[in-house]
């Protein structure tokens, strides 16, 4: 869902750059308290994993001729918390835009918003469920649902940005554009939800200490943050 260059108006991409820039700055300030020694390598390899996963476009069988790929910010936020996942997603999106021409340079802030800020906040909101001693079916179900919801929210955000930029074709109403984008991204989001549950369960089983961390308050405090 990387927004390419030339589709957002200067006021829109400027606003999004300011919002995402503020979110990143806040994350960097808070991130220090979240970085114990085991989490630096976990953050590094999870960022690399998301870069890799985003290269794998899978066909959406119900919508022929269309593909989707993982967002990943949601799953990063469950494993690392909101601030570190923001730092990791920003790194992925910056490398994609600067080196691989994936996403417009001026649209970087907008792309960080839809693939970083939104899913990172949603992921952090369910992180608390996974910090319990025995995460059960409730954690699976809510994670799946929020993962799917995240892509729908982001897809709606992209359409609103295009609409505000006057880059939607005049033949299409805003409502129809939202409906088309949301339905496709609900399907992609269901894949995101399933993959998130599987990866979180795997990393928790093998790297629980790094996921839990030793610095940040666990449980309710995390949800509030």
């Amino acid at each position: 869902m990387h927004i390419a260059s030339g589709f957002l108006s200067p006021p829109v991409w400027g606003t999004m750059a300011a919002v995402s820039g503020a979110a990143l700055a806040g994350s960097l300030v808070v991130a220090r308290r979240h970085l114990d020694e085991r989490r630096v390598p976990l953050m590094g390899v999870m960022g690399a994993f998301i870069f890799a996963a985003q290269m794998v476009n899978f066909p959406i069988l119900l919508v022929p001729g269309t593909s989707g790929h993982l967002g990943g910010g949601f799953l990063l936020a469950i494993l690392l918390g909101a601030p570190l996942s923001m730092v990791a997603m920003t790194s992925v999106l910056v490398v994609q835009a600067l080196v691989f021409q994936d996403g417009g340079l001026e649209a970087l802030g907008a792309n960080i918003f839809v693939m970083g800020v939104v899913p990172c906040l949603l992921g952090a909101s369910v992180r608390g469920l996974w910090l319990r001693p025995q995460p059960g079916r409730l954690a699976d179900i809510l994670t799946f649902a929020c993962g799917a919801l995240g892509l729908v929210v982001s897809a709606t955000g992209v359409i609103l940005m295009l609409w505000l930029s006057g880059a939607l074709p005049s033949a299409v109403s805003l409502a129809k554009a939202v409906l088309v984008m949301d339905s496709v991204h609900l399907l992609i989001g269901m894949v995101e939800g399933v993959v998130s549950v599987l990866v979180v369960r795997f990393v928790l089983a093998t790297r629980r200490e790094a996921v839990l961390g030793t610095v940040e308050p666990l449980g309710a405090g995390e949800v509030a943050a």
């Binding site: 589709f7 970085l35 999870m46 690399a48 994993f49 890799a52 290269m55 790929h69 080196v99 994936d102």
Partner: protein, 113 residues
Amino acid sequence: MTAYNRRTLIVGVAVAAVIAGVVSYFASSAPDGLEKFQEDQGAAAPAYPTVEAPPIAFQEYNFNGLGEGFWANAVAGVVGIGLVLGILLGVGRLLRRRCPVAPVGDDRAATRP
């Protein structure tokens, strides 16, 4: 570096490298949800001046000079994960160095006088 962290890095990088270097070659080349929407609705052309990074070393996810085959994609994938990993390890180390007090339970705390 502790054995724990070394293992995190080795396993994580191995998994990412296989996905970026090998699996991604077999990915769908169909447009993604946003691109498809823009094509179908006749809004595929940019409405504003475009600002894209120059394709100095890579043409999208293909290494320049290797065409569009398996190896061009594999080099792009491995370089990409290397860049992300390097940035994050660097930022992580910088942020930790600026942290005045070692976090509770930190391995550094045990070695401090």
